[in-house]
């Protein structure tokens, strides 16, 4: 049991519960002699019951005031999902449409299309944990891997803000990998790179990335938002165009990713529907067993305690209302021939008189 009190000082008041054990709710009344009354088991039980009810009323009120609750807890469960670092391109070209124009009311920018679909993806992935990194001229860590989806959505929302100048993919990837390294848990790991362009990755940076990936393998997804007229990932070089990273950075980034020896998928999306398909595909692929934490919320028991207190108080009150007065009760009720106690009392009175006379 995980019972807990919000205000533990109520425990200091527990001795109050001794009061009803000692004293009764009924009025103490004089009675000449108990010798003539036969011991009655039921009466004894009712008497003890009333004392206990009083104690119970006080204890349950104390529990209710103290805020008795079952503690919330986190339990580990196993589900399907993975730890995903979203690596988001924040270069200014993301603010343009797929046609390479300025975004208008009818035609959304690449970043806002990507934002909506990623929001949907994040909301659909119940057990995933997400980290967010952005890159443009420099790589920027945004959120370390977390299960707080609102924060992740806040970071995804920010991609529609005006971007910066360059597309420094190499540094961004290094950052995303180091975010995975900083996350100690065992889970399937993925990096989702969302960009609308690529850049040459320095040979030294390439070596470092290979080392990082060898140390902690990840599944790599590249969602390439292709602008009309921009070179594709899978296109072979055209006539007269040299097949170099400088001339065709997208193609060569794809080749580099393929050479990393980790599960890798590239998606080329030229319109919003293609992005949706790609994200659907990633959603299907990233289904590995994952241990995730589920929070069981706190359960408030104070209403239950108040209920018990109310119940006991009701019984006590009824018992109290059923009380009769011995001293005057007989005289008052004699004419109405009401209570048996009054009759009994009269009988006793007569008996006493008779005994006195006899004496």
């Amino acid at each position: 049991m995980n019972l807990a009190l919000t205000y533990p000082w109520v425990l200091a008041l527990i001795p109050l519960a001794l009061l009803p054990l000692t004293f009764a709710i009924q009025r103490r009344q004089g009675y000449p002699s108990l010798a003539g009354v036969e011991p009655d088991g039921l009466s004894r039980a009712v008497d003890i019951g009333l004392h206990l009810l009083g104690a119970l009323a006080i204890l349950s009120l104390l529990a209710a005031i103290g805020g008795l609750h079952l503690k919330g807890q986190t339990v580990e469960r196993v589900g399907e999902g993975s730890h995903v670092v979203l690596l988001l391109d924040r270069s200014s070209s993301m603010d343009e449409t797929f046609a390479g124009k300025q975004a208008t009311e009818t035609e959304a920018s690449k970043s806002s299309v990507a934002r909506e679909l990623m929001r949907e993806f994040i909301n659909r992935r119940d057990h995933d944990r997400f980290g967010v990194a952005a890159f443009s001229t420099m790589a920027m860590p945004v959120l370390p891997i977390t299960s707080h989806k609102d924060a992740v959505l806040g970071a995804v929302d920010a991609i529609t803000r005006p971007g910066l100048a360059y597309t420094n993919v190499g540094q961004g990837l290094a950052l995303a990998l180091s975010m995975h390294e900083a996350d100690p848990t065992a889970a399937s790991r993925a990096i989702l790179l969302v960009s609308d362009g690529a850049a040459v990755i320095d040979r030294r940076v390439q070596e470092r990335l290979r080392e990082q990936i060898a140390k902690r393998p990840v599944n790599l997804y590249w969602l390439y938002l292709r602008t009309a007229g921009a070179p594709g990932i899978f296109d072979p070089p055209r006539e007269g165009v040299p097949d170099t990273p400088q001339a065709m950075p997208e193609r060569h980034l794809n080749l580099f990713f393929q050479s990393l020896k980790v599960p890798y998928r590239a998606f080329e999306a030229e319109n919003p529907e293609a992005i949706a398909d790609a994200i659907e595909e990633i959603d299907k692929l990233e289904r590995n067993p994952i241990r995730y934490q589920e929070r069981i919320p706190e359960i408030d028991l104070s209403d239950l305690a108040y209920g018990i207190a109310a119940g006991t108080l009701l019984l006590l009150l009824l018992a109290k209302l059923a009380e009769v007065r011995l001293e005057t009760g007989g005289a008052l009720t004699r004419s109405k021939a009401g209570s048996t106690v009054a009759a009994a009392r009269q009988a006793t009175d007569n008996e006493t008189k008779r005994l006195k006379e006899a004496a």
Binding site: I25, A64, P141, R161, G307, L314
Partner: protein, 326 residues
């Protein structure tokens, strides 16, 4: 039917306790208005923020480290329901890392994201503080949030002689703080190489001491070596101490005045929550508050009184005396 028990105060006490307990069950929550705040934290990550002229837990620390600690402390003191976002400033604009999200539910994520702010995230070295502040204000305005802008106010290159550009927004639309950080005594600006290693300090000649991009000052004619075409700024060496790092409070107060923000100096008390809540637009939030403890405690008091009376009457009872006398 006559109930003799009605004459006994204990009956009424028990009835009262019962009523109060029922009250505690059925009207346990009342709605109260609470204030919540939406805030965009923007921190200056230009080189001058690396100056180690402030203290964190008694140890010398860089301005950026103290600024980050301050954001964490302030986050912890914002009332639940408030939202916080984060951005960094360098060059001439503010770059949003995440839009405002609720602080309590996402506390650990927000709190853990702060230590990752680093000056190497900066995409350019310039430090147009006023432009950065203005862009932060327009971002905060679009989020309907207030602003906490933490900077040392070191404008580099210096402002032209024409002074500050006019602020295009409406002063007071966005509330919040311009927070100055840094020592009041000057220290040297640190110098870094391309890989981010510290390699010394800047000397006077390394740093533009005055802005020569704009028109020359009106008194330029009286400067030594002045020539209207070849030396419109004169040819004397100018030393405006721009290579020294010092918190530019006068400038920040002026910026705060222009934009309708409040200026605050980040001293030993790192939490900005107090100053911020005074300067911000509160968003009133209906929150249910459990007040069942009030009728509950009263019920307990009545019950204690009830048994207290029982105890007193037990000791004062005439019954005992009757027994004793017979």
């Amino acid at each position: 039917m006559r109930l003799p028990a009605l004459k006994d105060p204990r009956t009424w006490l028990a009835a009262g306790a019962l009523l109060l307990t029922l009250l505690a069950i059925f009207v346990p929550r009342i709605m109260l208005q609470r204030d919540a705040y939406d805030v965009m934290f923007v921190v200056d990550i230009t080189t001058s923020m690396n100056t180690r002229d402030v203290k964190l837990a008694g140890e010398p620390a860089s301005r950026l480290d103290v600024a980050k600690a301050s954001i964490q402390d302030t986050l912890a003191q914002l009332p639940c329901g408030s939202k916080a976002g984060l951005g960094v400033f360098t060059e001439r604009r503010t770059f949003v890392l995440y839009e405002p999200v609720e602080v309590c539910a996402n506390f650990s994520a927000l709190h853990d994201s702060i230590p990752h702010i680093h000056w190497r995230m900066g995409w350019q070295g310039d430090s147009f503080v006023s432009k950065g502040l203005f862009s932060a204000l327009s971002i905060a305005h679009s989020d309907k949030a207030d602003l906490i802008f933490i900077t040392d106010g070191h404008e580099l290159p210096p402002l032209p002689y024409s002074g500050l550009e006019p602020y295009e927004g409406k002063p007071g639309d966005v509330g919040g703080l311009v927070v100055g950080i840094g020592s009041h005594t000057s220290s040297r600006l640190l110098k870094y190489d391309a890989d981010g290693r510290e390699i010394g300090v800047y000397s006077m000649q390394d740093i533009p001491q005055e802005n020569r991009a704009g028109p020359p000052p009106p008194d330029a004619e009286s400067r030594p070596g002045y020539h209207p075409k070849w030396a419109p700024f004169g040819n004397a060496i100018v030393n405006n101490k721009e290579h020294l790092a010092i918190v530019r409070e006068e400038y920040l107060k002026k910026l705060a005045g222009v934009t309708g923000l409040t200026y605050a100096y980040l001293g030993d008390d790192r939490s900005l929550a107090n100053e911020f809540t005074k300067a911000a637009h509160a968003r009133s939030l209906e929150r249910s508050v459990d007040v069942s403890i009030i009728p509950g405690s009263l019920a307990l008091a009545l019950l204690t009184l009830l048994y207290g009376i029982a105890a007193v009457s037990a000791f004062r009872s005439p019954i005992r005396s009757v027994h004793n006398s017979t």
